[in-house]
C-alpha cells in the first residue's frame, strides 16, 4: 500500500527541486507538474476503494495523536485530493505551451506549492497544521495572481493579500482561544471535548473561524477580492484558483463547523449565507461585459450554491454539495481554459470581441458551450445530477421556508442561464470575423479540454461512479463520533 504522506511530499519535493534545475535543465521544468500531478492522481485513485471502507490514519514522526500530528485520510479527504490532482494535472498540461511570459520556472514551483497546500489541508487532522497549509495555499495564490508583474495583477494581488492575511490572523486568534480552553490541537481530541456551542465562549471562536475562512472561500460580504484576482491572472491560474483554491476554503469551513464544533444549529444561517452569496454572484455576473470577470462572479455564485447545499444538513444534501463541488471544479476550469485561448486570439476580454469565434475556433467553442451548459445544469452533463440532488434534498425537508429558499436558488440558476446564453449567442450567432489571427488552439491546449469534456459528459451520463465516495464523504462529515473514534483509536 502506498502511504498517503506521499501525496503531500511528492509535489513539495518537486517544488524544491525546480529552482535547482535552472542550471541547464530549463527545458524540462515544465514537464514536472504534469508528472507529479499524474502520480498524485494515480495514488489518490488507488487509495480510494480502501479508504471508503476504513479511513487511514497516518502518524507523523511516530507519535500518536493528540501528541503528534496525524493525517486523517478519510473518504472526504480522498475525494478532494482526487479532484485537486485531476484538475491540477489537466491544467498543468494546458500550461505547457500557454505559460510564456514572466518567470516561467517560478510559475511552475508556485503552482506545485499551491497544490501542496490544498492537498495538505484536506488530509491533515490537526488544526494548527491545517492553518500552516492554509497559509501555504494563500501565499502561493497571492504570488500567482501577481507574478506577471502587470498593473492589474499587482493591484488585485495586494488587495487580496491584505484581506487574506487579515482572515488568517482571525483564524489564528480562534486557534489560540481554543487551545487556551481545551489544551489540545488535534481536531478529533478537540471535538471530543466540545459538547455544544450554545455557550458564548465557544460561539466567538466559531464566528472567527467562519469569518477567516470566509475570506478565502469568498462568501458574500468577504468576496470583494475575488473578481479582480481571478480575472487579472493568466487563464491557467484563474482555472486553478476558481476550480480549487476557493473550494478548499469551504472544505476547511465544513471541517470546523461539522467535525470540530458539531454546530448543526447554525446550518440555517449557513444556508442563508449561501443563498445571499449565490444571488449576489449571479446578479453581478449578469451585468459584466468582461468575460473573465463574468466567470469569476459566476464562481462566487457557485460557491453560494455549494454552501447552501452544505447548509441543508442532511446526508443527501451534503452529497449534493460535494457533487456540485466536483461539477464546478471540472466545468469552471474547462470554461477558463477555453476562454484562455479565445482571449489570446481575440486580443480582448470583452464579450463583444468574441463574436464569430464559433466558426474560427469550432472545437474550443463547443467545449465552452458544454462547460456553460454543465454549470447551468442541463441534462446530459455533470451539472444536471448534482443540481438535481441539491433540489431533491431541499424538497425532502418538506418545510415552507426551504421551498422559498429553493425558489430563489432556481431564480439564480435562470440568471446564470441568461448570461451564459448571452456569451454563446455572441460566439455563434453574431458578427463575422474577417481576420486570420483567429485559429484553433494548439494541440497541447486541446487535449486537456477534450479530457475535461469527456469527464463532464461521462459522469453526467453515469453519475453512479461517484455515488459511493460521495455518500461515505457526507457520512464522514455528519458522523462526528465516528471521526473521533477513528482518529483517536
Amino acid at each position: 500500500m502506498v502511504n498517503p504522506i506521499l501525496l503531500i511530499i511528492a509535489p513539495l519535493s518537486a517544488a524544491f527541486i525546480i529552482p535547482l534545475m535552472g542550471y541547464g535543465l530549463k527545458r524540462i521544468v515544465k514537464f514536472i507538474p504534469p508528472l507529479v500531478m499524474g502520480f498524485n492522481l494515480v495514488v489518490s485513485l488507488s487509495l480510494a476503494p480502501k479508504v471508503i471502507k476504513n479511513p487511514i490514519i497516518v502518524f507523523l514522526g511516530g507519535f500518536p495523536p493528540p501528541f503528534g500530528i496525524n493525517l486523517y485520510v478519510g473518504p472526504l479527504g480522498i475525494l478532494f485530493s482526487c479532484v485537486i490532482s485531476l484538475v491540477g494535472f489537466i491544467v498543468s498540461i494546458y500550461a505547457l505551451n500557454y505559460i510564456k511570459q514572466g518567470a516561467e520556472q517560478k510559475y511552475h514551483a508556485l503552482y506545485l506549492l499551491l497544490l501542496t497546500g490544498a492537498t495538505g489541508i484536506v488530509l491533515t487532522g490537526d488544526i494548527f497544521n491545517l492553518f500552516v497549509f492554509y497559509e501555504i495555499l494563500c501565499i502561493s495564490s497571492y504570488a500567482l495572481v501577481g507574478y506577471t508583474g502587470e498593473k492589474a495583477g499587482i493591484e488585485s494581488a495586494s488587495k487580496y493579500l491584505i484581506q487574506g492575511s487579515l482572515g488568517s490572523s482571525l483564524i489564528l486568534i480562534a486557534i489560540a482561544l481554543l487551545y487556551g480552553k481545551f489544551g489540545t490541537l488535534n481536531m478529533a481530541d478537540m471535538a471530543s471535548r466540545i459538547d455544544s456551542v450554545h455557550t458564548m465562549e465557544l460561539f466567538f471562536p466559531l464566528v472567527l473561524f467562519i469569518t477567516g475562512m470566509g475570506v478565502e472561500s469568498a462568501i458574500f460580504p468577504l468576496n470583494a477580492w475575488l473578481p479582480d484576482a481571478h480575472s487579472s491572472a493568466p487563464s491557467t491560474i484563474s482555472a486553478i484558483l476558481s476550480g480549487i483554491a476557493i473550494k478548499i476554503g469551504i472544505y476547511a469551513l465544513c471541517r470546523v463547523i461539522f467535525t470540530i464544533f458539531g454546530a448543526t444549529d447554525i446550518l440555517q444561517f449557513l444556508m442563508l449565507l449561501g443563498l445571499v452569496t449565490l444571488l449576489v454572484g449571479e446578479f453581478s455576473a449578469f451585468s459584466q461585459d468582461n468575460i473573465k470577470r463574468m466567470l469569476a462572479y459566476s464562481s462566487t455564485g457557485q460557491i453560494g450554491l455549494i454552501v447552501f447545499a452544505m447548509g441543508v444538513g442532511t446526508q443527501y444534501g451534503i452529497s449534493g454539495g460535494l457533487f456540485q463541488f466536483t461539477t464546478h471544479a471540472l466545468s469552471k476550469s474547462l470554461l477558463f481554459l477555453t476562454t484562455g485561448y479565445m482571449i489570446y486570439r481575440a486580443g480582448s476580454m470583452k464579450i463583444s470581441a468574441l463574436e464569430g469565434m464559433g466558426k474560427k475556433m469550432p472545437l474550443t467553442s463547443v467545449a465552452f458551450t458544454i462547460g456553460a451548459f454543465s454549470l447551468i445544469g442541463l441534462p446530459p452533463f455533470i451539472g444536471f445530477p448534482s443540481k438535481f440532488m441539491i433540489v431533491y434534498s431541499v424538497l425532502a425537508r418538506q418545510s415552507g421556508l426551504y421551498i422559498v429558499f429553493l425558489a430563489l436558488v432556481l431564480a439564480g440558476t435562470v440568471i446564470e442561464g441568461a448570461y451564459f446564453f448571452k456569451v454563446i449567442q455572441a460566439i455563434y450567432f453574431k458578427g463575422e470575423r474577417k481576420d486570420d489571427r483567429a485559429k484553433e488552439a494548439p494541440l497541447s491546449a486541446l487535449i486537456p479540454v477534450i479530457i475535461l469534456v469527456l469527464l463532464i459528459i461521462g459522469i453526467g451520463i453515469y453519475p453512479k461512479v461517484l455515488t459511493s465516495i460521495l455518500d461515505s464523504s457526507a457520512a464522514e462529515l455528519l458522523d462526528r463520533i465516528g471521526y473521533i473514534k477513528e482518529a483517536l483509536k
Binding site: 504522506i5 529552482p19 514522526g61 507519535f63
Partner: protein, 226 residues
C-alpha cells in the same frame, strides 16, 4: 464615518473577546499535552530544550510547512520583482573606511554566532530559525557596509533548495527506517551533549542554512537597484 464604523466593529469584537477570555484564567496549570511533552520529551527525542523537541519531532510536519512558506515567500518575491527595469542608480555616499573595515571584521563573527545558535538548538534557547535570522542580519550588515560586494543570487537559491531537499530526505530516511515520516531514527545519545537528540541537529543545520540564505536572498532582492 469610516472611523466610527470601525470603532463599532472593534467594540463588538472586544465584547466577544472579554466573554471568551474570562473563561480562560491566566497562569493556570498546564495542559495534558504540554505535561506529556515535558515528562517524556527527553526520553523520546533526546533534546533538552523541550520547545525544540516539539518543533522538530512532535510537530515536525508544521516546521516543514513553515520552511515551505519561507521558500514560497522568496520565490514569490523573486517572481514579482523579477522584471523590474533597472532604474538609474541614485547617488549613494560611499561608506567610510572605518565602517567598511568594521563590517568586514564583524561579518565572520556574526556568521559564527548564527551557526552556534542553530547547532545548539537542542541544548539552549534558539535554533534554526533564530540562527538563520542572525546569519541574514550579518548579510544585511555587509550590504550596508560594503554595498559594492554582492553575493550571487543563484547561490542563495541553491542553498534554499538543498536545505529543503535535505529536510525531506531526512524525513524519508525516517520513513524507511521506522515506518513514519520524520521518525527520529538516529540514536538519541546522552542528553545535554552536543551529539545527541538524533536527527534534530541535522535538521536544524539544514533549516539554519536555508533560513539564512532565504532571508539574505529576500534582503538582496529588495535592496537591488535602490
Amino acid at each position: 464615518m469610516r472611523k466610527i464604523f470601525s470603532l463599532i466593529i472593534l467594540i463588538i469584537l472586544a465584547l466577544g473577546v472579554y466573554i471568551c477570555i474570562s473563561e480562560i484564567p491566566f497562569g493556570k496549570p498546564g495542559t495534558a499535552v504540554g505535561n506529556y511533552y515535558i515528562e517524556k520529551g527527553i526520553e523520546e527525542t533526546g533534546a533538552v530544550n523541550i520547545v525544540t523537541s516539539i518543533v522538530l519531532n512532535y510537530r515536525g510536519f508544521d516546521t516543514l510547512g513553515e520552511v515551505t512558506i519561507l521558500f514560497l515567500a522568496s520565490l514569490g518575491l523573486g517572481a514579482i520583482l523579477a522584471t523590474v527595469q533597472n532604474k538609474t542608480r541614485g547617488v549613494i555616499t560611499p561608506p567610510s573606511l572605518i565602517l567598511t573595515t568594521a563590517c568586514r571584521f564583524l561579518f565572520p563573527f556574526i556568521l559564527m554566532f548564527g551557526a552556534y545558535i542553530f547547532l545548539h538548538g537542542h541544548l539552549t534557547p534558539g535554533g534554526g530559525f533564530q540562527g538563520g535570522a542572525i546569519i541574514a542580519s550579518g548579510f544585511l550588515l555587509r550590504y550596508l557596509g560594503c554595498p559594492q560586494k554582492r553575493i550571487r543570487q543563484s547561490s542563495f537559491v541553491a542553498i534554499e533548495s538543498l536545505g529543503g531537499i535535505a529536510f525531506i530526505i531526512i524525513g524519508l530516511l525516517g520513513f524507511t527506517a521506522g515506518g513514519f515520516f520524520l521518525f527520529n531514527f538516529l540514536p538519541k545519545g546522552v542528553a545535554n551533549t552536543l551529539l545527541s537528540a538524533g536527527i534534530i541537529p541535522l535538521i536544524y543545520i539544514a533549516i539554519g542554512l536555508k533560513v539564512g540564505a532565504e532571508m539574505a536572498g529576500i534582503i538582496d532582492t529588495l535592496i537591488e537597484e535602490s
